[in-house]
């Protein structure tokens, strides 16, 4: 525990909550330490070290929610914030036409610690700045690369969650990521090519294993090749998508529609609702039989695998889409009962002590198939192979999407040939996933994560990992971006 008085503060807050007559209350005390080292055009542009600490008290009073939070971690501030949360909950309850009911969860008392070999905060800063400068220098050594950027990021969250039900959870969580980008210019155009490690809950060994310097020549030369590549000719193409690219496609077109709060209208004013409405559960053909999308918040190193969510519910593994059929949602203790579930899936997370937890996409991944990447390519007469993330946009019910990518290659008669530029594909989510006819095997499986998934008002940034092997999609509409 970073602060010996946290338990005392939790007890003080929850005593107030219990005395108010509230049916439920919890407190999260969090200290988040983050370090971001960013380089731009050969120079270290910023080194930021942030120590962000505070607590939030959540109260359910007569079916109405209240939440108050403060960055003042003192025994004087705790009662003020607890009383404010109670007052707010009373106000909500006075207008409650339908009372919130939480599904049951066993009481947990546990400690969760991220396993790591090298603590990123003990790695000398000079080592990080030297690496980033060498990476940028190497990228800009390639003629026609005119800009470069490189970043290393790490965060530690120490958290104590205590509820009026008796749950007490103590967390020491790490996350690490690194990336770099080269931008090339040619004939009045410019284009970027990037390399990124996934965001994972591990130590600095992730960065060491990524071997940035070995990757820089490839990224630099592909940036130049991309900017000089022929533009795509619009039409219908078979697509073979790499795991990094698929992580974003899955996130937007499967992850968000599977959030039950969206399906129930909670996000109607901002992030949107979902075409996966509750009557479709168990009967809707979301994808082809080879599409199995599994939520797994128990897989080590993944972002949502925190042991327990911010409802104090144990992390779980469950199916979202089984053999193409939509079967289940991501839920929390509030919304689970609305579809007749006796237990939450444990997918309720807040982005800081100052935010109230909301339903979040789980670590949803595409289950591996049986093919190799070569098998997937071999059966494509005219197609495009796409790597990495590019432009992305999707409607508020998650039907109509459009994606770009970071790098594109033409596939002709089963072989990757020349690079293309300006590739954009679009479609309607279930039509797209029903066009999937091949997924590569477990040996091709990679994990990529997001820490900037926007949702909620006030806005919050969600964290989750999406794993996939390469997958093939038939006859997808491609336009020139």
């Amino acid at each position: 525990m970073p602060n010996p008085s946290w338990d005392e503060m939790a007890e003080l807050a929850l005593k107030r909550v219990a005395a108010s007559g509230a049916e439920y209350g919890d407190i999260r005390l969090v200290r988040s330490t983050s370090q971001s080292v960013s380089g731009e055009d050969r120079r270290i542009a910023s080194i930021r070290d942030v120590d962000d600490a505070g607590f939030g008290v959540r109260v359910l009073y007569h079916g109405g929610w209240g939440f108050a939070a403060s960055s003042i971690l003192s025994l004087e501030e705790v009662p003020r914030v607890a009383e404010l949360a109670i007052d707010i909950a009373r106000g909500s309850a006075s207008l409650a036409s339908e009372k919130v009911r939480l599904v049951d969860e066993p009481v947990h008392r546990d400690r969760v610690v991220t396993a790591s070999r090298i603590d990123p905060f003990t790695v000398p800063l000079e080592q990080k700045t030297t690496l980033l400068r060498e990476v940028m220098e190497c990228l800009q050594r390639q003629s026609e690369v005119v800009r470069s950027s490189a970043t290393l990021w790490a965060r530690r969250d120490r958290k104590l969650f205590v509820s009026t039900e008796g749950t007490r959870l103590d967390f020491d969580l790490l996350a690490v990521q690194g990336e770099f980008t080269a931008t090339a210019r040619h004939d009045g155009r410019f284009a970027s090519r990037s390399f990124a490690t996934p965001h994972l809950r591990t130590g600095y060994e992730l960065i060491e294993a990524a071997n940035f310097l070995a990757e820089t020549p490839r990224i630099a030369s592909q940036a130049v090749e991309k900017v000089k590549a022929a533009p795509v000719r619009p039409g219908m193409y078979d697509l073979v998508l790499d795991p990094e690219h698929l992580s974003l496609t899955m996130h937007e077109s499967c992850g968000h529609p599977s959030e039950l709060d969206r399906a129930l209208g909670y996000e109607a004013n901002y992030a949107g609702t979902s075409f996966l409405t509750t009557e479709k559960r168990g009967i809707f053909r979301y994808g082809s039989p080879c599409v199995n999308l599994v939520a797994d918040n128990t897989e080590a190193e993944t972002l949502a695998a925190t042991g327990y969510d911010d409802d104090g519910v144990a992390c779980q593994k469950w199916d979202i889409v089984r053999e193409g059929l939509f079967v289940d949602y991501c839920t929390n203790r509030e919304v689970a009962s609305k579809i007749g579930e006796a237990r939450s899936k444990g997918s309720n997370r807040a982005d800081s002590w100052g935010s109230v937890p909301i339903v979040r996409i789980a670590n949803i991944g595409l289950e591996p198939g049986t093919d190799s990447l070569d098998d997937l390519l071999a059966d494509v007469k005219r197609g495009i192979y796409i790597e990495g993330h590019g432009s992305y946009s999707i409607d508020q019910r998650r039907y109509n999407f459009q994606f770009g990518g970071d790098a594109f290659w033409l596939i002709e008669n089963g072989k990757r040939t020349q690079m293309l530029r300006d590739v954009i594909y679009h479609g309607i989510t279930p039509e797209f996933w029903n066009s999937c006819d091949g997924v590569a095997d477990r040996g091709h499986r990679r994990r990529y994560g997001f820490i900037t998934c926007g949702k909620g008002q006030p806005g919050q940034s969600g964290w989750m990992t999406h794993a996939a092997s390469h997958a093939r999609f038939r006859r997808v509409a491609v336009i020139k971006g």
Partner: protein, 436 residues
């Protein structure tokens, strides 16, 4: 919340103990809350106080920065020590510049007491007002009412000092009428200016009109963009005006400074004193926010300079863009309704959603229409239409402006607050249609 004197005390605590060549202290201490509702009931009701103090130091051009949410003397000094440790092992930054010279910053009414005093009960009262109106119409309301006040300051070892309070209130509402939605939003320094009733009625009317929907084919259409839709596209113009990208040739505007980039009747200014904008007195870097001309009669006059690029280019005064106002000269319509009357056939767009760059070289964007898209024929709204995806560059379509209104308030979930006219654009490309 941290007062001016308290910020000065905290800044002095750092500045007096710093061993660096230069030290800068910034603060953002915010207290506010949000009542959030959906399906005609409160689903979230929160209140948060978050303070963040950042210390930035430099030794011989080597920089370091550390932030803390703990304003006790020990923690603030620890933040200074962390910043110094970072700076001592950082490489020299060739773009390092000392803090701007001390100056007298403009004093603006950036905080309104009625907003600062508004608490959970006022937010709940407004939320209930919107919900109540929707219930009467048998419609579903989802939205937010928020209010906040922040103490913002910057102080440096060269004597630079600025601090001000900034308040902000927001309201946004999506009304659902079966499959149709209508939307309205507001943001203002004063919570008294949110106009809850008017905006709720506006969203209700949109939703009710959206019930009768038809699907049109994708293609090129004349469009009437309401202010929020105009703001959504213009935000991407504003966000890509940075001078460093311009200089490196990686900006869609490279080579366009001093040239016409949009219709010659359009002018973009920064107007921080405008009572309906969220202008500030100074930036986090300690630069003064002033009136500035960015685009004059369609000609690009200004770029968003970082201090290093400005110095390199000999720019004496860096223009800010905290209070953008886009106006059009010539005969204007009073309201969007008058633009509708002028159109033989057009698509009326309330708002865009999920706008992203498709091609950075020519600023081609994509996004969806949202919460009220209608077919206009012979000067009248004929029906709602299924939402379109667009594939367009604002740099192309804003050269084809046919008619416009006076600048009006526009707030969207993805952009800040701006003043922009509603506009009729002659040719706008919708590349696909969605299912609703």
């Amino acid at each position: 919340m941290t007062s001016r004197d308290e910020f000065r005390f905290l800044a002095d605590l750092v500045l007096k103990r710093s061993g660096a060549d230069e030290t800068i202290v910034t603060i953002q201490d915010q207290h506010g809350g949000t009542a959030r509702f959906a399906n005609n009931r409160i689903v979230q009701n929160v209140d948060t106080r978050r303070g963040m103090l950042t210390v930035s130091v430099a030794f011989d051009g080597c920089r370091g920065s550390a932030s803390t949410t703990d304003f006790t003397a020990g923690s603030v000094q620890e933040a200074l020590a962390r910043a110094e440790r970072i700076a001592r092992v950082s490489p020299e930054d060739p773009e390092y510049l000392p803090a701007p010279d001390p100056q007298v910053f403009p004093t603006r009414q950036t905080s309104r007491p009625e907003t600062a005093m508004a608490g959970p009960s006022r937010r709940l009262e407004y939320a209930n007002e919107a919900i109540g109106q929707c219930r009467i119409e048998n419609l579903q309301a989802a939205g937010i009412v928020s209010s906040s006040v922040a103490s913002v300051g910057v102080a440096a070892s060269n004597g630079l000092f600025a601090q001000e309070e900034r308040s902000e209130a927001r309201f946004s509402l999506t009304v659902q009428a079966e499959d149709a939605t209508g939307w309205s939003a507001a943001a203002h320094r004063s919570i008294d200016h949110l106009k809850i009733q008017d905006r709720t009625l506006s969203a209700i009317n949109k939703a009710k009109r959206g019930r009768d929907v038809q699907e049109l084919s994708p293609g090129h259409y004349r469009v009437i963009l309401e202010p929020a839709a105009v703001a959504g596209l213009w935000s991407w113009i504003l966000w890509t005006l940075d001078a460093k990208s311009y200089e490196k040739g990686t900006s869609p505007f490279s080579g366009q400074l001093g040239r016409q980039i949009v219709d010659e009747r359009l002018t973009l200014k920064n107007l921080p004193d405008h009572p309906d904008l969220l202008g500030t007195g100074f930036t986090q870097e300690g630069l003064s926010s002033e009136d500035a001309m960015w685009i004059e009669k369609g000609v690009l006059k200004q770029l968003a300079y970082d201090r290093f690029t400005a110095k390199k280019q000999g720019i004496k005064r860096i223009a800010t863009l905290d209070a953008p106002c886009l106006s059009a000269s010539g005969p204007t319509a009073f309201k969007t309704q008058e633009l509708i009357k002028q159109c033989e056939r057009a698509i009326l767009v309330t708002n865009f959603w999920y706008i992203r760059t498709v091609n950075q070289t020519d600023l081609t964007l994509t996004g969806m229409t949202r919460d009220g898209t209608f077919l206009v024929e012979d000067g009248q709204i004929i029906s709602a239409v299924r939402n379109f995806r667009f594939h367009e560059s604002p740099l192309r379509v804003f050269k084809q402006v046919e008619a416009f209104t006076e600048a009006a308030e526009a707030v969207t979930s993805e952009t800040g607050k701006v003043l922009v006219p509603a506009m009729v654009l002659r040719d706008f490309y919708f590349s696909s249609v969605t299912r609703f």
